[in-house]
Amino acid sequence: MAAAPVTSVDDDIRAIWDEMLSAMYAMPGVGLAAPQIGVMLRLAVVDAGEKRAAIRMANPEIVKASTTLQIHEEGSPNLPGLYAKVSRPDRVTLRFLDETGVRVEHEFTGLWSTSAQHQVDHLNGRMFFDRLGPVKRRMLIDKHLKQQKRGR
């Protein structure tokens, strides 16, 4: 299910970003999309650096992606314990509304790039395993179902 675009960045939106950041840092993770905390809005946060320097995004869209790819092992707190190597562009430019409501473009590289794309996927109702081939995808989903059945 795709999340709904936000119409304007106000204090409510900023409060959701803050909540998302506390969830992300608690995991700990390098990014989080609003649907993961049950808010079906196009909001995402990314922080993949050494020091805390989160980027808050509303209505993010990818406007440019490199042709060179990088592989990173990805997981999601919604599927605990499941990880898979996913190949994505190593550099992307995203256009989004920042915390002041201004439309900006930002280039992400390395882990930042992987996480930003992973979050945009979440907003479009896609999970990282949708990027895998059919066999690997099936294996991962079966593993998840098995874990669920065991009651984890």
Binding site: D12, A15, L32, I37, G38, V39, M40, P77, G151, R152
Partner: protein, 212 residues
Amino acid sequence: MDNAWCLPSPITGIGQGQFVILPNMPRGLVGLACLDYLNSMSIRPILIHPDPRLKKKCAELPGVDADLRRLADDMLETMYDAPGVGLAAPQIGVLKRIFVMDVAGKEATPEPRVLINPELTWTSEALNTYEEGCLSIPEIFDEITRPAVVRMRYLDVDGKEHEDEFDGLGATCVQHELDHLNGKLFIDFLSVARRGLITGKMKKLKRERARD
């Protein structure tokens, strides 16, 4: 009591007089007699499902210190305020193996308990079905079947090890709270369809709260 400010003869004290409950206080208005603690204790926001922090296996606590006692106090205050009979740390976004509970009845003297690094050491074959709810899944109740009697080993806020037997609501409560520490919610015992329905309701609730 190491604090002369505290009112005399508290019914229940946790640790060394950090948390004092007066006998005739109504539930939800737990009397906090020490002024310095009155200032420092706080009700923390309770996370609502779905939230990744509620799906995470929490970390074992290396030991008991003043910060942890403070956390336990906050959890008890948050639980009584809700009101609820149990609260696990991940429900306030702290991913540590600690929960608090009080299953004494509404009219009875409060019996606050803090359980740190809890583990089940024995469960009965006999089962019991209880209608469970959860502060992280407001207004949803469902019948869940679990062992009727369990034994649990844990540390208290003074770091002392205990092994206690729980039955009735206590047994349900400690198992429900232990599940929280392992990233499991009571709705995980329900069918996928029912769980989906509940998750949908919670998303709607969050949307409404975000608007208010």
